[in-house]
C-alpha cells in the first residue's frame, strides 16, 4: 500500500517543516457543511486530516468535541454519510493522509474485518481507536493491517518502556502522543510539553510522533516541533471555531482557514 504518511513526513523533512493536522468530527454540524469545512482545512494548508466518526459516548473527549458529536448525530449523520464524505475527500485529495478517530463500539458493531475493509474502501489511511489501549490493541491492529489500514496507537508519558516497545511494534503511520492527562480540550491550559517521551519513542523505533491534546496556538506547534515531534494535531481549537459560527457558515469557513494558515505557518522551521 502507499504509505501517504511516510511520503508526507519525508517531504516535510526535506523542507525542514513539520505537519499540521486539524481534527473535526465528520457530519458536524451536518454532513454537507462538514464537507465544506474539511475542504477549507485542506485548502488552507492542512498537511493531513484526523477525522472523527461521531459517537454517542465519546469518553476520551472534553465538552467541545462532545458537542460536535451531538451536533453531528442530531443532524442525522449516520456512518454511511461519513463513509460517503470520506470517499469524496479521497477523490478530491488523492495524496492527503486521512486518519480516522473512532470509538471501539463502532468497530465492534460491524466486526473489525468489515469495519476496516469499509474504511480502506473509503480511502482512509489510518484508524485510531480512542478507547483501545495498547494491551487490547493487537486484534484491532491485525484486522486493520489485513484490510490495508494503518493502526495508530496513543503514547502517554506514563507508558512503560515495555508499552512503548509494543506501540512501536503494533503502530503504523504515526504515533499519537498525548502529553497531558485528561480529555481533549483547548481551554485547559497549554499542553505540558516535554521531550523525554519523544526521545523514548525514537529509541524504540516508533512511527513519527504527532502531538495532540491542547494544541490551540501557533506557539504550541512550535514547541512540539522543537521537541522533535513530526507535527501537531489540533482538534478542540478547530471545533470551537465551528461552534462559534454555527449561524454563519461563511464566517466559519473564513475563521477556520485563518486558523489553519496561522498554525501551518508555525510548522515552517527557520533553518
Amino acid at each position: 500500500m502507499t504509505d501517504r504518511y511516510a511520503l508526507l513526513f519525508e517531504r516535510l523533512r526535506a523542507e525542514g517543516a513539520g505537519a499540521f493536522v486539524p481534527f473535526t468530527v465528520l457530519g458536524d454540524p451536518d454532513p454537507a457543511t462538514s464537507l465544506e469545512i474539511v475542504r477549507t482545512l485542506v485548502t488552507a494548508g492542512a498537511d493531513a486530516l484526523e477525522l472523527g466518526l461521531p459517537f454517542s459516548d465519546p469518553v476520551a473527549d472534553g465538552p467541545t468535541i462532545q458537542a460536535a458529536d451531538v451536533r453531528a448525530l442530531a443532524a442525522g449523520t449516520r456512518l454511511r454519510h461519513a463513509w460517503a464524505l470520506l470517499h469524496a475527500l479521497r477523490e478530491e485529495f488523492p495524496a492527503l493522509p486521512i486518519g480516522l478517530l473512532v470509538y471501539a463500539n463502532l468497530v465492534e458493531r460491524h466486526g473489525a474485518p468489515a469495519f476496516y475493509a469499509t474504511a480502506a474502501a473509503a480511502g482512509v489511511d489510518s484508524v485510531l481507536v480512542a478507547d483501545v489501549p495498547t494491551l487490547e490493541a493487537p486484534p484491532y491492529a491485525a484486522a486493520a493491517l489485513a484490510a490495508g489500514v494503518l493502526p495508530v496507537l496513543i503514547a502517554t508519558p506514563s507508558c512503560s518502556d515495555a508499552t512503548l516497545r509494543e506501540i512501536a511494534q503494533l503502530g503504523r503511520g504515526y504515533t499519537y502522543v498525548v502529553t497531558r492527562s485528561g480529555v481533549t480540550g483547548a481551554d485547559t491550559g497549554a499542553p505540558a510539553l516535554e521531550g523525554a517521551l519523544l526521545d523514548r519513542l525514537r529509541a524504540v523505533g516508533a512511527a513519527p510522533a504527532l502531538l495532540g491534546f491542547g494544541i490551540a496556538q501557533p506557539d504550541h506547534v512550535r514547541t512540539a516541533l522543537a521537541l522533535g515531534a513530526a507535527g501537531a494535531i489540533s482538534g478542540s481549537a478547530v471545533v470551537q471555531r465551528i461552534e462559534r459560527h454555527l449561524d454563519d457558515p461563511s464566517a466559519m469557513l473564513q475563521a477556520l482557514a485563518a486558523f489553519v494558515r496561522e498554525m501551518k505557518a508555525a510548522t515552517l522551521r527557520p533553518r
Binding site: 459516548d57 469518553v59 489501549p133 485528561g182 480529555v183
Partner: protein
C-alpha cells in the same frame, strides 16, 4: 496488568491509554488487599459495626402464603445507606485510603451508590463529588439531599440521555485527569478491569451469608436465586457463592420498562447485542451503526443500556438466565410488599420481587425462592406519590394491567 479481566468473551479494559496506569495501580492495590489480613479485618469490622452486617434472611409470612411457596428475602435494604451498595463502597474507600487518594468521585443512577459513596467520604474524611444524570437528580431528590447532607457535592450531568450512562462518562473524564489524587468509586460490576472483579468480590458477602442462612433455615439450598439487574452488582453479589451449586437456578431480572417490544426498556441482556462501552466488552442497547441508545425504566438504577460483563458471560454459558419485568409489574410488586409484609422495597428491587411472585404462582408447594431485597424504597416515595396523584404521568403504569400481581391474588393473608 496481572489479569486480563475476561469473563468468557466479555470484559477487558477498553479505556483511553491515559487511564491505564490508574487501573494498573488499582488492580495491584486490590490484589494486595485481598491477601492482607489487616485490611480484611478492618473491612469486616466496618461491615459489622458501621453497616450492620450480617443482614437478616426473612421468610415472607403473607406474600405467597396461599401458594405454599417459601419466599425468602435477603434484607440488604436494612444495610446502612439503604441498599447493598454500602458493602463494596466501604471496600473501595479503604483501597482509596491505602493508595493515599484524597478525593472520591462516583457516578450514581438511583442515588443509592452516591449515598454510599457520600457516607464513605464522610467516614474517611475524603472530598467527595458525585456525578448524577440531570434526569435522575430530578426524580431522586431525597437521595440528592442525603448526599449533600453528608458533605458530598452532587454534579448534575446534562450530556447525552442525562442519566446513569452519561454520569459514568463524566466520571471517567474527570478521572482521566484527576487519578493521581482521586479514586473513582465505580458503583457496579460494569466498567474496565479490575472493577467487575473487584466489585463482585466486595459484594460476594451477600450470597455467602444468604447461602449459610438458607442452610440453617431450610436445611437445603434454594431452588432459585432472584435479583434485579441494572449494572448487576447486587445480582452478582448474591449469585457468586451459588455459581457452583448447579441445582440452584440463577435468575436476573431486567427492566422491561413499557415492554420489550416498546423500545422503552433497560433489558440489555435480552434485547442487546455485544459491543464495547465504559471499558468493557458486554451486551449493549445500540442501533445498527453502533450508537448507544437510551434505556428506560421507572427505576433509575436499572436505566442503563449496558450491563456488567460477567452477566453477559453467565447468560452466554447458560448458568444464569435473564427475564424482564415491566414498570407496571414492578410498581404492583412495590405495593404488594408494602401491603403484604410491611416492607417498602426500592423500585429496582421490586422488579426481582415481581418476578418471584409470578414464579410463586406457578411453582409447586415447598419450592424455595430467594430474592435479594437489594434496597429500600424511601427514595422512591416521592416518585410513586406523584404517579398516584396523577396517573396520566405514565398511563402504562396502571397496575390493573396485570392482575396476577395483585397481592390478594397471590395469597396475601391478613389476620
Amino acid at each position: 496488568m496481572q489479569q486480563n479481566g475476561r469473563f468468557g468473551a466479555f470484559g477487558g479494559m477498553y479505556v483511553p491509554q491515559i487511564l491505564v496506569p490508574a487501573l494498573e495501580q488499582l488492580e495491584q492495590a486490590f490484589l494486595d488487599a485481598q491477601r492482607d489480613a489487616a485490611f480484611q479485618e478492618e473491612l469486616a469490622a466496618l461491615l459489622r459495626d458501621y453497616a450492620g452486617r450480617p443482614t437478616p434472611l426473612y421468610r415472607c409470612r403473607n406474600l405467597c402464603a396461599a401458594t405454599g411457596v417459601k419466599l425468602y428475602l435477603k434484607r440488604e435494604d436494612l444495610l446502612h445507606g439503604g441498599a447493598h451498595k454500602t458493602n463494596q463502597v466501604l471496600g473501595q474507600a479503604l483501597l482509596a485510603r491505602r493508595l493515599g487518594k484524597t478525593r472520591l468521585i462516583a457516578e450514581t443512577g438511583a442515588g443509592q451508590h452516591g449515598v454510599a459513596t457520600a457516607l464513605a467520604g464522610a467516614l474517611f474524611g475524603l472530598q467527595t463529588q458525585i456525578y448524577m444524570g440531570a434526569k435522575d437528580v430530578a426524580r431522586q431528590q431525597p437521595n440528592v439531599f442525603r448526599m449533600r447532607l453528608m458533605g458530598a457535592e452532587v454534579i448534575p450531568v446534562e450530556s447525552g440521555s442525562r442519566s446513569l450512562k452519561d454520569a459514568i462518562n463524566e466520571a471517567l473524564r474527570d478521572w482521566a485527569q484527576s487519578f493521581p489524587t482521586t479514586h473513582y468509586v465505580l458503583g457496579t460490576v460494569a466498567g474496565p478491569h479490575p472493577y467487575p472483579l473487584m466489585v463482585r468480590e466486595l459484594q460476594r458477602v451477600i450470597g455467602r451469608e444468604a447461602r449459610a442462612q438458607m442452610l440453617v433455615a431450610e436445611g437445603r439450598l434454594p431452588d432459585a436465586v432472584i435479583a434485579c439487574v441494572g449494572g448487576g452488582s447486587n445480582a452478582i453479589g448474591i449469585f457468586a457463592d451459588f455459581l457452583d451449586d448447579a441445582a440452584v437456578e440463577l435468575v436476573g431480572v431486567e427492566a422491561a420498562g413499557h415492554g420489550l417490544d416498546s423500545g422503552l426498556h433497560g433489558a440489555t441482556l435480552q434485547a442487546g447485542v455485544p459491543g464495547v462501552l465504559h471499558g468493557a466488552r458486554t451486551m449493549l442497547l445500540q442501533d445498527d451503526d453502533g450508537q448507544i441508545t437510551e434505556s428506560h425504566s421507572i427505576a433509575a438504577g436499572l436505566d442503563y443500556p449496558g450491563v456488567g460483563p460477567e452477566h453477559a458471560a453467565l447468560q452466554a454459558s447458560g448458568r444464569a438466565r435473564y427475564v424482564g419485568i415491566t414498570d407496571a409489574q414492578a410498581l404492583a410488586a412495590f405495593r404488594a410488599l408494602a401491603r403484604g409484609e410491611g416492607i417498602i422495597p426500592a423500585l429496582e428491587t421490586a422488579h426481582a420481587l415481581a418476578y418471584a411472585l409470578q414464579r410463586a404462582a406457578e411453582e409447586r408447594q415447598g419450592t424455595v425462592l430467594l430474592v435479594n431485597l437489594s434496597g429500600r424504597g424511601d427514595k422512591d416515595l416521592q416518585q410513586v406519590m406523584q404517579l398516584e396523584l396523577d396517573p396520566s404521568l405514565d398511563p402504562s403504569l396502571d397496575p390493573s394491567l396485570d392482575p396476577s400481581l395483585d397481592p390478594t391474588a397471590t395469597g396475601s393473608s391478613h389476620d
